[in-house]
Amino acid sequence: MKPATFDYVAPHTVHETLDALGDTERDVRVLAGGQSLILEMHLQRIRPDLVVDINRVAGLDHLNLDNGAVRVGALVRHGVFESPQAVPGPLGRLFALAVVNIAHPPIRARGTMVGSLAWAHPASEWCAIALALDAAIEVRSADRAREIAVHDYFRGALQTARARDELITSVRFPLLGDNTGVGFIEHRRTHFCFAQVAVATALAVHDGVIEQARIGLVNCADRPVRARAAEQALVGAEVGSPGTGYRLPDGHPFIRAGRIAAEQDAAPLAEPYADPEYRRNAIAVLVGRTLRQAATDYQVQAGNGATGGRL
């Protein structure tokens, strides 16, 4: 478990970084938090010719608001989002719910959100959230800057639309309206491992009725999945008030949405201890439970509990 020999540069500016990435003859990798790259290099599954360490690059560690969106720079660490106040409103609450599922504190202190998006692992929490929330990936190369809509970005396991000479400088998430309830639940065998399945939801509610649903599925296919069919099925449903048991009542719209997500939206792969049949079950259960969590969040945060419809 030792990396093969590689060259290493640690530029101080984006300009220098892009120069280094411009050498497309060689296998060049960007090192941010390093929580995936270094492991893969130790395993020699990745043997880069050149590692470009961007940790000293000025200006990449900003987290700021911009015209109804939040822009997360390439060096913003996971751990920043543990506080729900790091980002305003429901989006901050969703990030906070999700981020504690990313490995453990030392990894969250080092790893970055943009790094997760660049790596594009199917079990990444951030990737599914970005997809569900219509985030935009902001990239630059030596001769151009562009924005990649997230639905065009993920191309498969560890595959993205980023060109080899491009650096992801930031990712932009539209803020969620105050009438939004959010939920995130992850299912995994121990706290140490990747998710078998995780689900992120955001429900925009008006007068107790779901106006818009966003559902992101983690590790439910070879890439992050947006459960559009399930989202559609929820529009117009009453958000209701949460039940108390671990099971939702039969016939509840959240149960139906869970089934649709599992059967129509997801394309789960087999892995040890989780064959597709089990995975589809877990997806259905988790989507239902996460929707209920989002409904509860909406009611608690908006003080709307009393006006919610019946369950």
Binding site: K2, L43, H187, C193, Y246, R247, Y273, A274, A282, V285
Partner: protein
């Protein structure tokens, strides 16, 4: 020392431990191994030429390259070929018939039999260079079909050794049971259980450093449980007298049974050190360990258990197909431990256990904490719960009715064991009281009536195990020496890998001699300092080495009294020993200490060989779990472990052993397993992300309690304490899950109880529905 619980804590917990990887040896080379990526195949080509061109690589060899390697002038270098891995016939756990024709090569030459088997070795100036070289070795292997389960391998349709059966060993304990016994019984339960393969997973993987010394001797540093055995085995394969080799065990980060052999990598490293005349080190990394280190467990079991209408056990039958791995080593006979312990803590009059040990295309099976006893306990205790359900009887009551009574020891079991001492019902009662058995049963009822509540289950597991070793390996060597400065040196043949010997043994010696604890220094794990020894295995150190040290102290006191008697010209009966001092009984003159006696009469040292009997520790574990039937997750709400290891030498140390082994027991029950692909290759590419250990976040509240029934096997009265949780805990948890879900088919709940397994069991027909 006040702020530390143990004497070794300051060093180990502040990063000052010195492990094999920390030793600085000028000119030391690092070895890296090239390993087979196929489980079974014919080796067509192993070409190391490109590796030799890598900067910093000193040499690279396949097995064929090592034949006739010119040796340096080192005095030890009389070798021609790389010798095979020494097998062992220790403690009846293997035999010549099993190993003949099935030699385990240190580097595979013609055929590979498990994924991870080494086919070449590269030696570099450091580990980076060695790995860079290893990456350049060209290996071509034509795959053969692979078999990775004993049931599939047993029919010999795929043979690991041409012309030889895959079945390397058969054995039995007890007498066959007549069919009429089963037919006449009021209740008979049958089941099949899989005891999955487990990785011992010590924090520090295997290590060895071999240094040819200028005087022609060979020094070997290794994290090892049996340094004297390693010395003996290395001496035999290097054709050297044993006193030309010194084996030292420095700080070692865990072993759990997996560090007592001369492994293929050890043979290769020592051979290279001797032939090159240079120090060579190998530090196994985690991924290597996960493919090439030994695993434990690995049994497919069939059981039958019969009782009369009152729940008195009539007969128990256990058939074991054991997974030996690719080469016969200790794992061949290890399942006999399961067979011998099949009787458990019950008075069952007829017990019969059979063993068939089968070779498979997997890494070699070897002892892992518990080593045969968990398999016996899990099979019996799961069956006890099935029987209780069949009889409509409380599982605690069924056990109580069948315990060997406290007044019946020594107790001869139908499977050939003679239990030394026990009080099984007291341990169970304490476990039930501690966990609040009645309260949890009420809660279970309440939940059964509430469809919104998660199902809850309570599981029990009563065990009896064996510690100390097997006949022929129940002795140990120990000595004590008094010095002029008032200090005492204690020596013994043990070799710790985390068992707190530095704390426990000096305290024991200090107490036996009546001197202050901080005056006693312990020396162990160095074959030069302690020339004879067996080592640390089978939970034996307190039981056997502890008793041996006490015995040596008694001898030292006798010797001191003789010396004083001579000095004072009086009969020895008139010399009184008290609290580390000697005094004439009659004339009232002042006492002299041991130090003064040594000053006056010269060095005082005794060395002793002490033989213990087998110990049979026991206990009762109880678990409460909550199951989410929709996802199949299991949450352990409470775990109570009551263990009895006889006389406890240090409560904190014993508690640590109980706690740690219970966590490993939870690992077997819920998390740990090695998935194999159809090609026989373990699916563990991401290391410990693929083989899940319980983490701090998974550990439930564990209450550790004990009862103390001394063993008559030694004057000290201590039995082994190291393996209780691995033995007792898994069945408690599995029984609790079965109790929560009540599946009609017990075979659905095979360990590890991962969410998919539990989810399927939750959806399956219930016991009541099936009847």
């Amino acid at each position: 020392m006040e702020q530390w619980t143990r004497r070794e804590d300051r060093r180990l917990l502040t990063g000052h431990g010195r492990y094999v990887a920390d030793l600085v040896v000028p000119g030391c080379l690092d070895a890296a191994f090239v390993r087979s990526t196929v489980a079974h195949g014919i080796v067509r080509e192993v070409d190391c030429a490109a590796a030799r061109e890598v900067p910093g690589v000193i040499g690279a060899w396949s097995a064929a390259d090592l034949s006739g390697l010119p040796t340096c002038t080192h005095a030890a270098a009389r070798l021609q070929d790389l010798p095979p891995v020494p097998h062992t016939l220790l403690a009846r756990l293997s035999n010549e018939e099993a190993v003949t024709g099935r030699e385990w090569p240190a580097l595979a030459k013609e055929r590979v039999r498990y994924a991870g088997e080494a086919v070449a070795v590269v030696v570099g100036e450091d580990r980076y260079r060695a790995e860079d070289g290893a990456a350049e070795v060209v290996v071509r292997i034509d795959p053969l079909p692979a078999v990775v389960t004993p049931s599939r391998a047993a029919n010999d349709s795929i043979a690991l050794f041409d012309g030889l059966s895959n079945t390397a060993f058969t054995g039995e304990a007890g007498q066959p049971i007549d069919e009429s016994v089963w037919q006449g019984a009021a209740a008979v339960v049958e089941a099949r259980y899989r005891q999955q393969l487990l990785m011992p997973t010590p924090m520090e993987c295997r290590t060895i450093l071999a240094v040819p010394e200028e005087d022609g001797r060979l020094s070997v540093w290794s994290g090892h449980q049996m340094p004297h055995r390693l010395r003996r085995e290395l001496a035999a394969l290097l054709d050297l007298p044993v006193d030309r080799i010194r084996v030292v065990v420095p700080d070692t980060g865990g072993a759990f049974g997996s560090k007592s052999a001369a492994f293929p990598e050890f043979v290769t490293v020592v051979y290279l050190a001797v032939t090159l005349g240079r120090p060579v080190r190998w530090i196994e990394d985690r991924l290597e360990s996960m493919t090439a280190a030994t695993r434990g467990r690995g049994q497919d079991q069939r059981v039958r258990l019969a009782a009369d209408a009152d729940g008195h056990l009539l007969a128990y039958e256990l058939q074991i197909d054991a997974d030996v791995g690719a080469y016969p080593h200790l794992g061949v006979g290890l399942p006999m431990q399961t067979a011998w312990m099949a009787t458990g803590p019950y008075t069952t009059p007829k017990v019969h256990a059979t063993v068939r040990s089968v070779l498979t295309n997997t890494m070699v099976t070897y002892p892992y904490r518990g080593a045969g006893r968990p398999e016996a306990t899990i099979a019996l205790e799961r069956s006890m719960d099935l029987l209780a359900r069949r009889l409509g009887m409380d599982p605690a009551e069924l056990r109580r009715r069948n315990f060997i009574p406290a007044g019946s020891f020594p107790y001869q079991t139908p499977t050939g064991r003679c239990y030394d001492s026990g009080d099984y019902s007291t341990a169970l009662d304490l476990a039930l009281e501690t966990i609040g058995y009645g309260t949890w049963r009420d809660e279970q009822e309440r939940r059964r009536e509430n469809p919104d509540a998660l199902p809850l289950g309570i599981g029990l597991s009563c065990y009896v195990e064996r510690s100390g070793g097997e006949p022929g390996g129940l002795h140990e060597f120990a000595g004590v020496e008094a010095h002029e400065d008032g200090t005492i040196t204690a020596r013994c043949g043990a070799a710790p890998s985390g068992q707190s010997h530095e704390t426990t043994f000096p305290a024991l010696v200090a107490q036996a001699l009546g001197v202050e604890e901080d005056r006693v220094r312990l020396v162990e794990g160095d074959t030069d300092a302690q020339p004879e020894g067996l080592g640390s295995f089978a939970s034996r150190s307190a039981q056997v080495d502890g008793a041996a040290l006490c015995h040596a102290c008694a001898l030292l006191i006798d010797r001191a009294r003789e010396r004083a008697a001579e000095l004072w010209g009086m009969p020895v009966e008139e010399v009184e020993w008290s609290a580390g001092s000697l005094r004439p009984l009659r004339d009232g003159s002042a006492a002299i200490g041991l130090a003064e006696l040594v000053k006056d009469t010269g060095p005082l040292r005794v060395d002793d060989r002490f033989e213990s009997g087998m110990g049979f520790p026991f206990g009762a574990h109880a678990a409460v779990v909550e199951v989410d039937p929709e996802l199949g997750t299991v949450r352990v709400l409470q775990l109570v472990v009551v263990d009895d290891c006889g006389v406890v030498l240090n409560p904190a140390v014993v508690r640590g052993q109980a706690f740690g082994s219970a966590v490993q027991g939870i690992g077997q029950a819920l998390y740990e397993g090695i998935p194999y692909g159809d090609d026989g290759v373990p699916q563990l590419a991401n290391g410990l992300l693929d083989y899940l250990l319980p983490t701090a976040a998974e550990i439930p509240p564990i209450e550790v309690k004990d009862t103390r029934t001394p063993t008559p096997s030694t004057p000290l009265g201590a039995k082994g304490a190291g393996e209780s949780g691995c033995i007792g805990t898994p069945a408690a948890i599995v029984n609790a899950v079965a109790d929560a879900l009540q599946p009609a088919d017990p075979g659905l709940l095979q360990m590890p109880l991962t969410p998919d397994v539990v989810w399927r069991a939750a959806r399956a027909p219930k016991y009541e529905e099936a009847r």
